[in-house]
């Protein structure tokens, strides 16, 4: 009897203990859920980070900041459509592309888009789009979008780019100043032929006996010389325009030959030979034509200066372009046969105002490096003492647009 009372007491006590522990666990779980939620809310409000989760385009979860970013009342649950509606028409395809890319490839996509509001300055939103879950059977795949107002950063970037473009333009103007003598030469050559041909033509017409075939040849030469002069002016104007950087599909061979045409007079006057090795199989690059021409022009002029003390027969510039199978970038190099660069100066030559020349500001290479960096390429120098220096840079291979991502610039995969 006594035993059964004790057993009962133990049983009851044990049961109570078990229930109490269960209650405690439940309370802990609730507490940690609340804590996680409050942490998430804190992160969202502190960082101004808007979050939105979608299950096949339907909003399943969001936070108040997302609504705030879209200029909606914090209590509303914004939809994907509301986000898309607010975006500038140029950016909408990029978001569609990012959603589809995230869904199919499970990559995390980053992109910056413009959010246009009535009667207010447009703002820039930085979006991260990624897939969440979908691994388990009960867990449906969701698309998560994180949004942040990046207007200030974007304005700073745009300002920086504007300054870089202005600097590049200044660099071009000053470089063309250096080239002005030989450019005058390039224009004077066709003008000289045109004048002498026209004068000879007048004489031929005075002599009745002359056959008109020769006059026809003269006129043909005049036309082609006029075109030649026009071509020099066209290239000059292209270099002098202060335009926005435009990344296009560019053939390296064309780039090099354009620069050589502009510099032809200078190279002849300085007795410099150029050997270009550009394989036919070289893929086109994604580049701003004018800016890369500027880089090449600058490298050619530097190479000429470096070899000014050489015997005329050893003044040679070698331009080379290579692309290994599967490489993302094309590699270009411009090598001279000058005295070379000392190892400690190899990096310093890219510093602004570093120069070994009496004339010249020493900004050419500094500007060139910023141009190449803006192209997502790299620029560096190598040298063999007493044998010459080589300047190298890389440019990304041009890629066809993918998944309707027209704005490939704004998109980084991570």
């Amino acid at each position: 009897m006594g035993l059964s009372v004790v057993s009962l007491a133990v049983l009851v006590f044990g049961g109570a203990l078990w229930l109490w522990r269960d209650a405690l666990r439940e309370r802990d779980r609730k507490q940690s859920l609340e804590e996680a939620a409050s942490r998430l809310a804190f992160v969202g409000s502190a960082a101004g980070l808007g979050l939105l989760e979608l299950e096949s385009s339907r909003t399943v979860w969001t936070n108040p900041q997302f609504a705030t970013l879209l200029d909606l009342a914090p209590a509303t649950d914004p939809t994907l459509q509301q986000l898309l509606d607010g975006l500038s028409a140029d950016d909408q395809p990029a978001v569609h592309g990012a959603l589809s890319l995230a869904r199919h490839s499970r990559e995390r996509i980053q992109l910056d888009v413009r959010f246009v509001q009535k009667e207010r300055e447009p703002r820039w939103l930085g979006l991260v789009v990624a897939m969440r879950g979908g691994s388990g059977n009960h867990d449906k795949p969701r698309i998560a979008i994180a949004a942040l107002d990046v207007t200030e950063r974007k304005h700073a970037e745009i300002e920086l780019q504007r300054q870089r473009q202005q600097l590049a333009h200044l660099g071009r103007v000053s470089m063309l100043g250096e080239l002005s003598g030989s450019l005058a030469h390039e224009l004077n050559q066709p003008l000289t032929s045109i004048l002498s041909n026209a004068e000879a033509g007048q004489h031929f017409l005075d002599e009745r006996s002359r056959d008109l075939g020769e006059v026809r040849d003269i006129l043909q030469d005049i036309i082609s010389d006029d075109r030649r002069a026009g071509e020099v002016i066209r290239r000059l104007r292209a270099l002098l325009t202060r335009g926005e950087t435009q990344f296009q599909c560019v053939e390296v061979r064309q780039l090099v030959s354009d620069v050589l045409t502009l510099e032809h007079g200078e190279l002849v006057a300085r007795n410099v030979q150029v050997r270009a090795r550009i394989p036919d199989s070289l893929p086109p690059v994604r580049a701003d034509r004018v800016e890369v021409q500027q880089v090449l022009l600058n490298l050619f002029l530097n190479a000429c200066d470096a070899m000014a003390g050489n015997e005329p027969e050893s003044r040679l510039i070698e331009v080379q372009a290579t692309h290994g199978a599967g490489d993302t970038h094309v590699h270009l190099s411009v090598a001279d046969r000058g005295r070379g660069i000392s190892p400690e100066s190899l990096e310093r030559v890219f510093d602004p105002f570093f120069t070994t020349k009496r004339e010249g500001l020493g900004v050419g290479l500094a500007i060139s490096r910023t141009i190449i960096a803006a192209h997502a390429g790299r620029m560096w120098a190598t040298s063999i003492p007493d044998r010459g220096a080589a300047f190298h840079f890389t440019l990304p291979v041009f890629q066809e647009e993918r998944h309707g991502l027209s704005h490939s610039e704004g998109i980084h995969r991570g």
């Binding site: 004077n188 004048l195 041909n197 004068e199 000879a200 010389d225 030649r228």
Partner: protein
């Protein structure tokens, strides 16, 4: 007289063709070359004429060719044409004996008179060179003693003084003197001096050239 040839040296084929036509229309025969090396390989010193020379050339530039021509004795009057003429450059060219220095684009009103002048100078040089070689042949026919006597006459010494200098008598000097005058085909001491000057002073640039122009530049 054989017509003069104008050698055109310019690296631009269009300019070569145009100048050939223009010079042809003005009655000149022309030969064109794309580089200094091609000119040196193709030029015939026996052919009378001048050079129309571009300053900027691929291998050896115009001024270098001018120097090379003077050094090798294959001198010809030069009309420089340059697309980027600077004053120092034109001064150097003129000092080295260029006929003139024209800036591209060059009109026929500048070019043709310059070419005519250059061709005339070349004729003068050729005549002077012929005269000189005749005189040198005459000098070559003198005996060593006759040559000594000639040198003294040219210096302006009297027979008496020459005899003293050579350690001989005046009568002997008179005989030598007569032979010198005959062999040199000189009718007077003045003419003998002129011939001696022609034979013993060189190069051709020292032959006076009429109406040499001032260097030109693009500013004037």
């Amino acid at each position: 007289m054989a017509p003069s040839t104008v050698y055109v040296v310019d690296d631009d084929p269009g300019i070569r063709r145009a100048l050939e036509r223009l010079l042809g229309a003005a009655g000149f025969r022309s030969l064109t070359f794309g580089s200094a090396t091609a000119y040196l390989a193709g030029e015939d010193p026996e052919v009378a004429g001048c050079v129309v020379l571009d300053v900027t050339l691929p291998d050896l530039d115009g001024l270098g060719l001018q120097r090379r021509m003077a050094e090798s004795g294959r001198d010809r009057p030069i009309v420089f044409i340059s697309a980027c003429g600077s004053i120092p450059l034109s001064v150097r060219a003129m000092r080295a004996g260029a006929v003139t220095f024209l800036t591209k684009p060059v009109t026929e009103r500048e070019l043709l008179p310059a070419v005519r002048e250059a061709v005339a100078i070349d004729r003068q040089w050729r005549r002077a060179r012929e005269d000189r070689s005749v005189v040198q042949a005459h000098i070559g026919s003198l005996t060593p003693r006759e040559r000594e006597v000639m040198e003294h006459i040219v210096k302006g010494l009297l027979n008496k003084q020459i005899a003293a200098a050579l350690g001989t008598v005046e009568q002997t000097v008179k005989v030598h003197r007569a032979r010198v005058m005959k062999k040199m085909a000189a009718r007077s001491v003045a003419e003998l001096v002129r011939l001696a000057t022609l034979a013993w002073s060189w190069p051709a640039h020292s032959v006076p050239v009429p109406d040499r122009r001032e260097p030109r530049s693009d500013n004037n």
